[in-house]
Each structure stands twice: as structure tokens, then as C-alpha cells.
């Protein structure tokens, strides 16, 4: 029951956290900040709006937003909450988690190619290129987790990690940093992407949504907000200490997610966006961290890879 409530809480809080990022940026820029609830008004506005669908598109364009949203919510069901676990679980379910996010992305990409726009083609190209790097690194991270815990269920991996050896602190640190990079990449934030730009030639995620309007756009925007929160939730799993009362743990989880979004806001305030040709270098940092954590685990458990 509590898992269902928490899942609903994630769905309802996802837009607010994006509001937090905007708030941080506005305060840094010295502007009067919009309310953190602004993203809800924006979604509401989109739900009320009519829709224009380009005549060059096929049915793929129309079904993609619904599939995208559904796939992201499906991935959320496998995401473990600290101490409580995930709604759905079975052995090797982390593959389902990764590939339902993959499915969401697949439909986002083919729908944007469906429009035939040269901008959207470039955006799709970038999105796929960068995803290949992130996805590989993510699987190395999951493999490492499975290696430490001898578990293949997403939920069990996180629970068992907390009870294992003394080097876990180091591993957790590496995980947090590399997942934070994943959060920036998947959430299309600075320095990989710029969610506020109006320049089609530089966009990655936004450009793929250019042809969407109304409810379908709302679905796409909402799905990407949930996806960010899912990754933030994964990070917060590594930040909560052991043996706390469950309410305190959940409170800490909320606070840590808030802090993660605060960090995203600060990154956006303080640094400029990387040149697109250098983005892979930045993303390979995540791969490097993932491989390092794997090497550390291999060293401590087996004295090296044999």
C-alpha cells in the first residue's frame, strides 16, 4: 500500500522539482523567481490547449507520447524506495527498468524522425549518440551492484548493498557522482543540453518535441520530468544511512532529492554548456567512474579479476 502511495507521490511531485531548479536559477540570476508550482500550471495549460498535427507524420507520431509516458511510469514501478523497495520485482528486473526507459526514448526518437524535419533529425541523432554512452555506463554500474550483492533484482541490489562490506562508502560515492551525470544527460540539463534555449540548431531534447503541442506535448514533458525524478530517486537510495526509523528515512529521501535538484540548479547557474562535440568526453566520465567502481569491487572481493 505504502509503495502505491509513494509511487503516486513521485508522479505528483515530479513537476515541482523542475520548479525547484528554475527557482534556484532565478535566484542566482537575481530575478523574481516563478513559483515552484509553475510547471503544474504549464502542464495544465498544455492539457487545455488544442493540438496541431503535421500532415507529413504517420500514426507513430501520435502514439509516441502515450507510449513514452507509459514506459517511463512502468520503469518507475521497478524503482526501489529507500527501506521500502519497489512496487514490482523479480529476478533480473533491472533489465526491464533500463529498457523501458529505452523504449520511451525509442519512441521519442522515431516520432521525431517521423516529422521529417531536419532539426529534429539532428536532435534525434544527438540523443541516440549520447544515450549509447550513458546506457553502457549504466549497465556497468548495475553489473557492479549485482557483483557486490549477488542479487539481480533491482530492489534487492539496493537493500543488500547497504548491508555489505566496508568499501561500500567509496562505491556509493562513485555511484552518486556517475548517476548525477546520468541525471544531467537524461534530464537534458546543462552542460549537455540547454532546456531554455530557443536555438533549434543547438537543441537535443527540446528539438525533438518541436512538432508536438497540446496534450501530447504535456505527456512528453511530464514523462521527462518523471524520468529525472526516477534517476534522482536512485541516487537518494545511496545517500540514506542504515538503521533509521522508516518515516525519518523517507523524510531524508525527500530532502536528498531536493538537494540533488538544488545541485542541478547550481550547475546550470554556474557553468556554461559544453560544446556538442565535447559532450561524449563529459559522458565518458560516467563510464570511467562506473569502470572504476567495478574495478574496486573486483579488487576487494576477488583480489583482482581472475
Amino acid at each position: 500500500m505504502i509503495k502505491i502511495i509513494l509511487t503516486l507521490a513521485v508522479l505528483s511531485l515530479a513537476p515541482m522539482f523542475v520548479g525547484v531548479i528554475n527557482k534556484v536559477k532565478a535566484i542566482w540570476a537575481g530575478r523574481h523567481a516563478a513559483s515552484i508550482f509553475q510547471p503544474y500550471y504549464d502542464l495544465l495549460k498544455l492539457f487545455r490547449k488544442g493540438e496541431v498535427i503535421s500532415t507529413t507524420t504517420s500514426f507513430v507520431f501520435e502514439i509516441a507520447p502515450s507510449i513514452n509516458l507509459a514506459a517511463v511510469i512502468f520503469a518507475l514501478l521497478f524503482t526501489p524506495f529507500p527501506y521500502i523497495g519497489a512496487v514490482l520485482k523479480f529476478d533480473s528486473d533491472f533489465v526491464i527498468f533500463a529498457y523501458s526507459l529505452g523504449l520511451a526514448k525509442f519512441f521519442l526518437v522515431i516520432a521525431s524522425l517521423d516529422t521529417g524535419s531536419s532539426f529534429e533529425g539532428m536532435g534525434a541523432n544527438r540523443e541516440v549518440t549520447f544515450s549509447t554512452i550513458v546506457e553502457t555506463a549504466f549497465f556497468v554500474l548495475l553489473g557492479t551492484l549485482a557483483f557486490i550483492t549477488n542479487q539481480t533484482s533491482f530492489e534487492q541490489m539496493f537493500i543488500m548493498l547497504n548491508s555489505s562490506a566496508n568499501y561500500t562508502l567509496l562505491i556509493k560515492l562513485l555511484f552518486v557522482v556517475s548517476l548525477f551525470i546520468m541525471l544531467l544527460a537524461e534530464g537534458s540539463r546543462v552542460p549537455i543540453d540547454d532546456p531554455n534555449t530557443h536555438l533549434e540548431l543547438t537543441m537535443i531534447h527540446e528539438v525533438m518535441l518541436l512538432d508536438y503541442s497540446g496534450v501530447n506535448l504535456a505527456f512528453m514533458v511530464f514523462a521527462s520530468q518523471i524520468k529525472m525524478l526516477v534517476i534522482a530517486l536512485l541516487i537518494s537510495n545511496f545517500l540514506i544511512p542504515l538503521n533509521l526509523p522508516i518515516t525519518l528515512a523517507l523524510l531524508l529521501c525527500l530532502v536528498s532529492i531536493f538537494l540533488i535538484y538544488l545541485c542541478v540548479g547550481l550547475v546550470e547557474s554556474l557553468i556554461a554548456r559544453t560544446r556538442i562535440s565535447h559532450v561524449p568526453q563529459f559522458l565518458f566520465l560516467m563510464t570511467a567512474l562506473a569502470l572504476t567502481s567495478f574495478a574496486i569491487v573486483a579488487f576487494f572481493t576477488h583480489g583482482g579479476i581472475k
Partner: protein
């Protein structure tokens, strides 16, 4: 030597301009350019059934201008000089567009603004360079853009993320400014028109126009009025440079720079407003003087503001230019080499960022610069960084100029007499606006009215530099390169 030597703002009787045969005219231009002169303007004027063509060259180090003229009949072909003098390419396209004369051998003859004269507009072909290959793609951007930007069409031939060629087609803002000048002889109307040539260079364009008229009227302008005009021009430069630094920051998602420079720009344009009632300096300039005085109280406020703005700009710019993430985007992006800048005739701040030593405030002094010499500032790298950094340096320079001039500034009159314009005369007025060299050439008829005005905004020279700067660059860096030049569409389209 057939060339008549003049100076900036020196009026000249039309009869004194030598009239030579076109082949001699052509040879002479090529020789002069190869000697190191710079092509300032090449334009035609309809005279009964012929097109009289004027060429203006500059020898910047000696503050000299040279004029020569020739003529062609409409529809006549002539041997193009573009292959010998690349900077003439757009002037020849313009001549062909306006008078139907055909530059034979021009490498890429197509309309500049509204279409070749005498060619059916509905049959007009929009030719663009073609690139072919299995992974080559074309990206067409505009003429309608996202946000509040002027219209212009950009056609990229790209291979993956790399731009191999960019072709820029403008003309969507063509209002017929040069013709509008001839429709109404009222000088007040014409001054307003000059203010509207490019909305970000109001003081520069209106100043260029009124100095040309004052030269034709042979009137002396008091030192004090010249100083007021110069202060307004430098305020315009500071404001636009700050706005550009904010826009460059915005394009690379550098939030700090965007908000700080944007706020500082507001302080500066509000100072302009406190003087003349308009943030962009409209209504400030008038023939014989200025419409609004800068009295000692306003002068005090002005100095306080710009000195505070400069201090804060230095802090923000030092943070910006020492930030690794910013420098990674700016450095080695959109390079225009000195050789290219020189051969295509780039002008202004963008040319100085490529190491070309050209600044009309020094080369062809006008207004208060006649008695107040300044230094030319150049940078070498020619990349986006250089074009951003030179803005920062020029903001400091302009602040210093205003401060120094305020020391010799006294209260007094801000209005002067006007006179009759000299008949059958020719004048070249050059101003260094924030973007670069603005040139207005005015020719009067036998009654002393304007018969021909030829306006050249620096954008006319520099758009082609943008096209060259983005070659072999990532297509996602195009908006940044574009912003680093910040060229005017309406200044080009006229």
C-alpha cells in the same frame, strides 16, 4: 592619376570627380586595391539613360579617400572584378540587381535583396550551392526564426554535425530606405529616416547622415555639440556591447553573464533615455546641433552610471573570461583569419578581433574625434572569444573616452544655425558605429536637394565573414558565431 583625393566629410563638387571609360575604371580599381587601398563603396546612380558608377577607396593610414566614376548602360555586361577583388562581390551583385548591368564572370551572381532588375520576379530561382553524397544533408533555417529575431534565410550544407558551407539569403526586410529619402525633401523627415535604418545604431546612422548634410551646408559645429554627439555614440556602443555579451552568455547557457550584462545594459540605455527620452537614442540628433542638452546635472548622473557600470562589467567579465566552461565554448570557435578578413573587406569590431587594424574613429576622424585622438584596439585570434573580448575592452575604452571628454566639457549652447545645401555636390560621411564603419554617400542635384543617397551598414561587409567563419565548424556552434557578429538584417536589407 584620375582619382580625386578627399577626406571624410569633405564636400566636393560633382564636376571634380573624374569620369573615365569603364575598362580604365576597372583596371584602375584593381591596381589601387593591389596597392593596398580598401574598397569602401561601389555604387551606381541612374542618370537619364546611363548608370553612373562611383567607386570610393580608402587609404586608412593616411586618412585619405579616393573617388572615381564611370558609366554603363542598363543591361550592359562588363568584366567582373570580383575574381581579382573579392571584397567587390556584393557590390557587383547589388549593381546588377539595381540596374540590370551584368558582371561577366562573377562567381555567384544572385539577388542581394529584391531580385535582379528586369527579371520576372515570379520566375526567380533561388539558387543555393549544392553538395551531394550519401551522408550529406541540408538544413534550412528561417526566414522566420524562433524568438524576436529579424528574418533571414540560412542554408547549411552539412555532413553530420559539420558545416561545409553556409549560404545566407537576406532581403526580407527590404523597405526601400534609399528611395524613401528621395520621396520627401524635408530634412526632419530624412533625419528620422536615418534613425530608422538599423534600430541598434540609431545614433550612429543619424549622426552619419547629419554630418554629411552639415558638410554639404558648410556649417561649423561647435566643439560642445560634437562632444555631446560623441558621448551619445559611445553610450550606444557600451549598451550594445553589453547586450551582446549577455546574448553570447545566453547562447552558451552561462546564466551569470546573461543576467549581469543584461542588467548593466539596462542601466546604460536608461541613461540614454534620461538624456533624450528614448532608450535607443531616437530624436537626439538634429542638423546643426542636438535636440537635448547634457547639462551639468545630467552629466554627473551619466558619469556616475557609466563608471559604476564599467566597474561591474570588469568584475563580471573577469569571472566570465576565466571560467573554463565559457572559454571552452568561445576559444577556437568561428575563426576568421586576418588574411580572409582583409580580402573580403571586413570592417569594424569584428575585423579588429581578427587583427585588422581598422577603426574609422582613428582612420577617418569625424565629430569630436577630429580633436580627440584615440587608440585602435585589435586582437589576433579572430574567434568568438576575440569578438567577445574586444567588446569588453571597447566598453572600457568608451568609458574612458567619455570620462576624458567630460573634463573639457562646459555648459553652453546645444543648437546651431543651418544653411543651404551646396548644389551638385558629393560627400562621403564615415562613422564608426559599434558594429563598424557606416558610410553614407550623398549627391545633391542642381537645386541642392538630395539626388542620391547610398547607405552602407557594416553588416553589408560582414555577413559574408559569418558564412566563412562557420565553415568546418559544428552546426550547433552556428548560433554562437552568429551572435558574436550580431549583424543587422535591416541594415543590410535597407
Amino acid at each position: 592619376m584620375n582619382w580625386v583625393e578627399i577626406k571624410n566629410l569633405q564636400n566636393l563638387s560633382l564636376d571634380k570627380i573624374k569620369y573615365v571609360d569603364f575598362s580604365e575604371f576597372r583596371e584602375s580599381i584593381i591596381i589601387k586595391i593591389h596597392e593596398g587601398k580598401r574598397l569602401v563603396n561601389l555604387f551606381g546612380m541612374q542618370e537619364q539613360d546611363i548608370v553612373r558608377i562611383f567607386c570610393i577607396l580608402a587609404e586608412d593610414e593616411l586618412s585619405k579617400l579616393f573617388v572615381l566614376s564611370s558609366s554603363l548602360r542598363p543591361g550592359e555586361a562588363f568584366a567582373s572584378i570580383t575574381n581579382e577583388v573579392p571584397s567587390a562581390h556584393l557590390f557587383e551583385r547589388e549593381l546588377s540587381e539595381q540596374f540590370g548591368i551584368i558582371p561577366d564572370g562573377h562567381p555567384w551572381l544572385k539577388p542581394v535583396r529584391q531580385g535582379i532588375a528586369g527579371v520576372d520576379q515570379t520566375q526567380r530561382q533561388y539558387d543555393f550551392f549544392k553538395m551531394s553524397g550519401s551522408e550529406v544533408h541540408e538544413v534550412a533555417v528561417g526566414p522566420i526564426h524562433a524568438g524576436i529575431i529579424e528574418p533571414g534565410h540560412f542554408r547549411f550544407s552539412a555532413h553530420g554535425e559539420i558545416i561545409h558551407n553556409l549560404e545566407i539569403q537576406l532581403g526580407f526586410q527590404h523597405r526601400g530606405v534609399e528611395k524613401l529619402f528621395l520621396q520627401n525633401n524635408d530634412l526632419f523627415y530624412q533625419t528620422k529616416l536615418a534613425e530608422s535604418i538599423a534600430g541598434d545604431s540609431v545614433i550612429a546612422h543619424s549622426g552619419t547622415f547629419i554630418r554629411a548634410i552639415e558638410s554639404l551646408m558648410n556649417i561649423d559645429i561647435s566643439k560642445r555639440i560634437k562632444i555631446i554627439r560623441l558621448i551619445m555614440l559611445e553610450l550606444e556602443r557600451i549598451a550594445v556591447h553589453l547586450g551582446d555579451l549577455a546574448a553570447i552568455s545566453n547562447d552558451i547557457a552561462y546564466l551569470t553573464g546573461n543576467s549581469i550584462f543584461g542588467a548593466l545594459r539596462t542601466s546604460v540605455i536608461n541613461t540614454t533615455m534620461s538624456i533624450c527620452g528614448n532608450r535607443f537614442g531616437r530624436n537626439m540628433m538634429k542638423i546643426g546641433g542636438v535636440n537635448f542638452d547634457i547639462d551639468s546635472e545630467r552629466a554627473k548622473f551619466l558619469l556616475e552610471t557609466i563608471n559604476r557600470v564599467e566597474k561591474e562589467t570588469v568584475t563580471a567579465a573577469e569571472a566570465m573570461f576565466s571560467s573554463a566552461s565559457v572559454m571552452e565554448r568561445l576559444e577556437k570557435t568561428g575563426i576568421v583569419s586576418k588574411e580572409i578578413a582583409h580580402s573580403i573587406g571586413m570592417v569594424g569590431m569584428a575585423a579588429r578581433a581578427s587583427g585588422v587594424s581598422i577603426d574609422a574613429r582613428v582612420d577617418h576622424p569625424f565629430g569630436a574625434y577630429e580633436f580627440f585622438p584615440i587608440h585602435k584596439l585589435t586582437l589576433d585570434s579572430g574567434d568568438v572569444f576575440a569578438r567577445a573580448y574586444i567588446r569588453f575592452v571597447e566598453i572600457q575604452q568608451s568609458t574612458k573616452i567619455i570620462n576624458d571628454l567630460m573634463e573639457i566639457y562646459t555648459d553652453g549652447n546645444h543648437d546651431g544655425k543651418i544653411g543651404e545645401m551646396q548644389k551638385n555636390s558629393f560627400v562621403v560621411s564615415i562613422t564608426e558605429g559599434w558594429r563598424g564603419e557606416i558610410v553614407h554617400c550623398i549627391i545633391t542635384d542642381e537645386t541642392g536637394k538630395i539626388k542620391k543617397i547610398k547607405i552602407k551598414d557594416p553588416s553589408f561587409n560582414n555577413w559574408f565573414a559569418l558564412a566563412l567563419a562557420v565553415r568546418e565548424q559544428g552546426i550547433s556552434d552556428f548560433p554562437l558565431c552568429n551572435k558574436s557578429f550580431n549583424l543587422s538584417y535591416c541594415g543590410f536589407d535597407l
